[in-house]
């Protein structure tokens, strides 16, 4: 017989080993699907790798796709640190996108437009995240369900906008008017789509790490998450910390939407996010809720997504493999996390 036994401390190398283990298991399990699709496993993963990280252009494409997931990953990681269960990054992203698109369409000097887009987009995301946090603090409403349901509310609000007042009267398509050309985020390398927002995302990660690991607010967030009773006893206003965490988390998710509007699509449409908010949960879990780990985790998922399209063209394996890899990686990571709290011990055999 085997049983789980509580573990008092977790070795540091687990932080790296567990995500790698989870990713390896996910890729291994999904290689079965590649085989079912009648393609060579090594060939398919090879195409995936070279198309996502094989040359400098591919790398920029992967980074562009990673940027929104870095933001949503940070949003989820910080929220989960305080045990504020923000499943609503998707809706907060959409709110950020809509708000920044509205601002970006107003003629004004470019740098001012970009700054305002970021501020208003972050504020919109923060406001949306404040709803489940306030409901939890004031009415003890379960934040998992309320933040999840808000995603649908925001999605339909977006649809109402782009099929109503924002609808393209010329083509009749449900897309918003584009933002001003001057508000388009500058491209950093000529001939690529690598925009300013990607750099902001890459800088945001260490800033968030600093905030969590080295500031008073970060300390309060961690204590609130690990032991709310102790936090209260130690004089921390837990409710206030939860609200601050929600604002911060929502603002980060909102910035994901800002980047997609300012740097990639320059307008809002119904499929502006292919589930980046939910991917943020995968990213945060793979990163073990560490903001620094969010960057490689987001790049991994982005590489899988970019690579899957090329793999599909080359081998005929449906590109939806990337969605399966994402789900499998999350589930594998959750199981792997058991090893941080428990060890497997043989009992009763002898």
């Amino acid at each position: 017989m085997f049983r789980l036994e509580a573990r008092s401390s977790t070795p540091a190398w687990f932080n790296l080993a567990l995500p790698l283990l989870a990713i390896a298991i996910a890729l291994l399990l999904c290689s079965g699907l590649i085989a079912v699709a009648g393609a060579g496993v090594v060939e398919a993963y090879g195409v995936m790798l070279s198309a996502s990280l094989g040359d400098s252009y591919a790398i920029t494409e992967t980074l562009v796709r990673a940027a929104p997931m870095i933001f949503t990953g940070l949003a989820v990681a910080i929220a989960f640190r305080a045990k504020f269960w923000n499943i609503g990054a998707e809706g907060q992203l959409l709110a950020g996108a809509v708000a920044s698109c509205a601002v970006g369409a107003i003629p004004m000097p470019g740098y001012l437009a970009m700054l305002l887009m970021a501020l208003v987009g972050a504020a919109a995301g923060a406001l949306v995240a404040l709803v489940p946090a306030t409901l939890r603090v004031k009415f003890k409403v379960d934040d998992v369900v309320s933040s999840l349901l808000l995603n649908s509310v925001i999605y339909y609000a977006l649809m109402a906008l782009i099929e109503g007042p924002w609808k393209d009267t010329f083509s009749g398509y449900p897309i918003s008017p584009p933002i001003e050309d001057s508000a388009n985020f500058p491209v950093l390398i000529e001939g690529t789509r690598l925009h300013l927002g990607v750099i902001v995302a890459l800088i945001a990660a260490p800033l968030c790490w600093f905030l969590i690991a080295r500031t008073t607010l970060g300390f309060k967030i961690r204590v609130t998450g690990e032991n709310p009773e102790a936090a209260r006893y130690g004089g921390i206003n837990v409710q206030r910390v939860l609200l601050s965490t929600a604002l911060l988390s929502g603002a980060l998710a909102g910035l994901a939407g800002v980047g997609e509007v300012g740097g990639v699509h320059f307008q809002v449409m119904s499929d502006i996010s292919p589930g980046y908010g939910y991917s943020g949960i995968v990213v945060a879990m793979l990163a073990r809720l560490n903001p620094l780990g969010v960057v490689p985790a987001a790049i991994f998922l982005a590489a899988v997504m970019t690579g899957a399209e090329a793999m599909s063209r080359a081998t005929g394996v449906p590109a939806f493999l990337s969605d399966v890899i994402q789900g499998t990686a999350l589930l594998a990571m959750l199981v792997a996390l058991l090893f941080t709290a428990y060890r497997i011990r043989r009992v009763g055999a002898s």
Binding site: L33, V36, A37, W85, I87, V131, L135, K138, F139, K140, V141, D142, V144, V145, S146, L148, L149, L150, N151, S152, V153, Y155, Y156, A157, M159, A160, E163, G164, G275, Y278, I281, V282, M285, P318, F320, L321, S322, D323, V324, I325, Q326, G327, T328, L330, L331, L334, V335, L337, L338
Partner: protein, 314 residues
């Protein structure tokens, strides 16, 4: 104006409500069983999609619709078992696992569908279920054509509601489900296996979610599209809360939502369309969030919801 009014409120309207409510009723009852046992299943959205795909594929390859329904139900049960394995046996966090199950199942559904049917400009369709009028009852004015001239799966949903209430409130197993959802420690002391009961409830829930998926692709749309579920799983999550974890109230909530949905569809079709239909679609979610705030004082949610059970831990 009255012509428009008449156009909206006719027999067809009532029949449409029943049809829209059916998959929601199945899904809501499924989620309810799971949550009553203490397990939130956010995998519902993906489980419905994968079941819808599996059922459709089986029906279209074999030519037998009932085989399709069976495959959809088995798929739902299998995915329910997977969610239970993670959340009940391993005690992992239910909300994150649920999102994982949804991502995995919907990814798998898209992948397998594309693999089997390829990329076609017109999605392949099947000859779906036909309405089966019930003799005598279908002759009743208004109610007859609306309620008693429906698909067999609709009748099944109508029967499922009292049946679910009976199972939950009047059988020993239902008592066990409620016990492990309210106070697993006490249930354990009383000799009820918390793990086994939760597994059974989540798998039964998966079966009902599978029926919901089957209805979508084999009766309502007769085809599988990537948007075939489009948030109905999340609606079910809301309806369970709105229906206060009770089979009758949950089914009532499903009917209410179906009424609002049917109304917005009619209003769009009648060209009255100045009111954005999205406002109607938003309503159930907003109502549920408000209801959660209002109800929170009564604490009607199963007490052990979201809490894993490990026997050796106190």
């Amino acid at each position: 104006m009255s012509a428009v009014f008449e156009q909206i409120f006719q027999v067809g309207f009532l029949a449409a409500i029943i049809r829209i409510a059916t998959p929601l009723a199945f899904a809501t009852l499924g989620e309810m069983f799971s949550e009553r046992a203490g397990v939130l299943n956010l995998g519902i959205e993906g489980i419905m999609l994968l079941s819808a795909m599996a059922g459709f594929t089986a029906a279209s390859l074999s030519g037998s619709l009932w085989l399709g329904v069976l495959v959809a139900v088995l798929t739902g049960m299998l995915m329910g078992a997977l969610h239970a394995l993670f959340t009940v046996a391993l005690g992992l966090s239910q909300h994150v696992c649920g999102i994982g199950v949804t991502l995995f199942s919907s990814g798998l559904a898209y992948f397998l569908y594309r693999l089997i049917f390829g990329q076609q400009s017109v999605p392949p369709s099947i000859d779906g279920f036909k309405p089966v009028p019930i003799p005598l009852l279908s002759d009743i004015p208004v109610l007859g054509p609306a309620v008693f001239s429906q698909f067999t799966l609709v009748y099944l949903a109508i029967i499922a509601v009292p049946l679910a209430a009976f199972v939950l409130y009047r059988t020993p197993w239902g008592l066990s489900v409620r016990m492990v959802g309210e106070n697993p420690r006490a249930a354990d002391s009383a000799g009820v296996s918390v793990i086994a009961t939760r597994f059974q409830a989540v798998i039964l829930g998966g079966a009902l979610m599978g029926l919901a998926g089957a209805f979508l692709t084999m009766a309502q749309f007769n085809a599988f599209t990537f948007g075939v579920v489009s948030g109905r799983g999340w609606v079910a999550i809301a309806l369970v809360v709105f229906g206060r974890w009770d089979p009758w109230r949950s089914a009532g909530a499903a009917l209410l939502f179906a009424f609002v949905d049917a109304l917005q569809l009619r209003m769009q079709a009648s060209g009255l369309g100045h009111i954005p239909y999205e406002a109607f679609l938003m309503l159930p979610f907003i109502f549920t969030i408000v209801a959660m705030a209002v109800m929170s004082r009564n604490a009607v949610a199963p007490s052990a919801l979201l809490k894993p059970f490990r026997r050796e831990e106190r």
